[in-house]
Symmetry: C2
Subunit: 427 residues, 2 copies
């Protein structure tokens, strides 16, 4: 089954916006067993759109169109689709009620130009827009399907996920597909691949495909399989995940089902702290507030996050975190005793159950032979103990900050999870 | 002059990566007076690529191709271009030396597969790759130009900016074009448009086009004009910028010439602090470390940034920043006296020349009728005084954090700039 995506609108062609819609649509289609043959961005021009539709129809079974439906350039896409399918417009009362509902919510009157949004090509099946005023449209022609959606990402995504994909599955009787993603942290893609190569080789027997999805400091592993019955597929995939857990349990920080937003480490840490009714504070040097920022990005984080000392200078480390001048001079700020002292001090000072401390050389300056750029010490103080670990990241300042924050959150996560699973039951 | 962009590679079609290259190329082309007619992403397939080249040639004068040149799928794009132009491969010694140089830098041997990267279609003009091993290629055919570039953004961008654009300008004798961008902060797009509408109307006389480029908390204004002589164009644009300064000087925080990276507020603040040889500290509540993160993202920020107290709880505001319990209870944490006390306290405690404090309701919870979500107080303590300002941002937590940080940095910038220009000369 082949699809093509056509995005209509000059914003993409002048480079004003990056086309993120196509990647979203392509991912959803691929995850449902539909390959994308071509993605085309074309101008708001009748003849150009007609030609693009003709070319796409030659190559694909499903043609998905986004954009060109806003009230200001309403005419172009819809009128062109009318021409293409040799049909005329009709007024759709349901769509009009959707438009009225949205305008009412903003306590505004529907203007004549907005009323036009309820006009659709007669032969199309309307796809109602739950988040905006421009309706989606579904056309059947010569065994092929054409779907037009609004270009606003928020509106398009909901329509694609909740309505278009289910309708395509039904229409083309697509096989059942199951995807599950394992979230890992603290191991690079190539090391991970080495570690799990035997397990990876065994996937073929169960007709499971594996994708590595790396981002700074973390790798997501996506397992996909297709067949007749979702329940059977789920069982097969779950069995493989259980096998994987035995090999790399220490690196796994979460799982993600198809269609879910990826849960971030800071969200998981927040949930664990809430579950344990514990609090956390941070003492940051090289990360300069980034760990705190990640923690406080999560709504409701004030329930467990108390605050931080960002000790960018030696003086603040001494005065606010009680790191002795002697220690700083002899061992340097990027050292195990300093980072452990920082973690202990902030935990006591801010009266929290847990604390995170990080000190490192983010770069580009400040590196030495002994401690090159990317050297980072991280410590976690818990009610029972202090643990610390040394890392050597790369040479890029921003990535070093990100990787340090992720590694620190992951160290805390492991402590919290061990607590929950009872490793420290006899504290 | 019309161009088309063809990106080759399955990563985009399966949705694994978002095509940011096309937006970059489209922006550069448009800024040089070349319109983009269509952008197509096609699969790594010979016939599909040949068809895409034919279709693009029908519509455009310049066809830019990216991707499909990496060593693992080296063959596809280059071999297909050979077929398309009915030519054969030749070994290019210059390209080979570029490959050798890059491998030497990593202290690695050139493998046979990498040696193949020095093979190029005989009739092409090579565009040397200064940042990678895959060369760019330029083909002339029937008055049209075809350019193939690597897909790695870092390599493509340098090649496009430094080599392809100048060569296209020369080849097609494109007019001189001047762009200048004014960076504004603290005023929304529609208010800005109202304020400068007369000035905007006057631009047409000088054949200047204006583009509004908004992002959270800031709007960039890009002026563009074309003609015969760069110097004359520069003068015309500079005159208009001088007129604009009179109207909106308080909102302008910087300028950007064509091709330059946008200077961030935190970079500008860092430069000003260095110039004045002054230091800064922060006391953050609702921003949870994001202001510190922005400041410390800038390399060398340890020269002027000392540290921060992130006082997420009432207790830390009391104990670490001396905000009285009485004040917190009567006025609330999001109030002028609290944020001013925070700024004064951190400046004294961390012994800095300047300080920033922010306290607000980021949302989604915590809002009241009197202080809805998005209410933020920001204070700047200087050697002379404390200034503070109330803001009402939106309902989105992440954007509220970003907007607060930008507004705070902008308030500090204005103080520093006033200092430099001597407003406080009689301190």
């Amino acid at each position: 089954m082949l699809a093509e995506i056509i995005t209509i609108g000059d914003e993409i062609l002048i480079g004003q916006i990056v086309d993120t819609n196509s990647a979203f649509i392509a991912t959803l289609l691929n995850m449902n067993g539909i390959s994308v043959k071509q993605i085309s961005s074309v101008s708001d021009d009748r003849n150009h759109i007609l030609k693009a539709l003709d070319e796409a129809k030659e190559r694909a079974d499903i043609i998905l169109i986004t954009g060109g439906l806003g009230p200001t350039k309403d005419d172009i896409t819809k009128k062109t689709l009318c021409d293409y399918f040799k049909t005329t417009m009709r007024f759709d009362e349901d769509v009009y009620q959707d438009v009225v509902k949205i305008f009412n919510a903003y306590q505004k009157e529907v203007t004549p130009i907005n009323r036009l949004q309820a006009e659709v090509p007669s032969i199309c099946t309307v796809i109602r827009n739950q988040n905006g005023t421009a309706p989606g449209m579904w056309f059947d022609r010569d065994g092929k399907v054409f779907i037009s959606m609004p270009g606003v990402p928020y509106e398009m995504k909901a329509m694609m996920q909740n309505q278009v994909i289910p309708k395509l599955k039904e229409h083309f009787k697509l096989p059942a597909i199951v995807h599950k993603t394992i979230l890992t942290q603290g191991i690079g893609e190539s090391y991970l691949a080495d570690l799990i190569s035997d397990w990876e080789d065994s996937l073929v027997q169960d007709n499971i495909k594996l994708a590595y999805l790396p981002s700074p400091g973390m790798v997501r592993l996506r397992l996909s399989t297709k067949g007749d019955d979702v329940k059977t597929l789920n069982n097969v995939v779950d069995k493989k995940i259980e096998e994987l857990k035995i090999i790399i349990s220490e690196y796994i920080y979460g799982y993600e089902n198809f269609g879910e937003e990826t849960e971030t480490l800071e969200q998981i840490v927040g949930k664990l702290l809430n579950q344990l009714k514990k609090t956390v504070s941070t003492a940051e040097s090289c990360t300069g507030g980034y760990i705190s920022h990640l923690i406080t990005k999560v709504p409701g984080s004030s329930d467990y996050y108390i605050g931080s000392v960002i000790s960018y200078s030696y003086e603040i480390k001494e005065i606010e975190l009680g790191v002795s001048k002697d220690l700083l001079e002899k061992q340097g700020a990027v050292s195990q005793p300093v980072v452990e002292q920082m973690a202990k001090a902030i935990r006591t000072k801010y009266r929290t159950d847990y604390s995170i401390a990080a000190s490192g050389i983010a770069g580009p300056g400040g590196g030495t032979d002994e401690k090159p750029v990317g050297t980072v010490w991280i410590a976690i103080a818990t009610p029972e103990t202090v643990i610390s670990e040394k890392f050597l990241f790369g040479t890029n300042r921003e990535r070093n900050i990100q990787k340090t924050a992720n590694a620190a959150l992951n160290m805390l996560r492991k402590e919290l999870q061990a607590k929950i699973s009872g490793t420290f039951i006899c504290e």
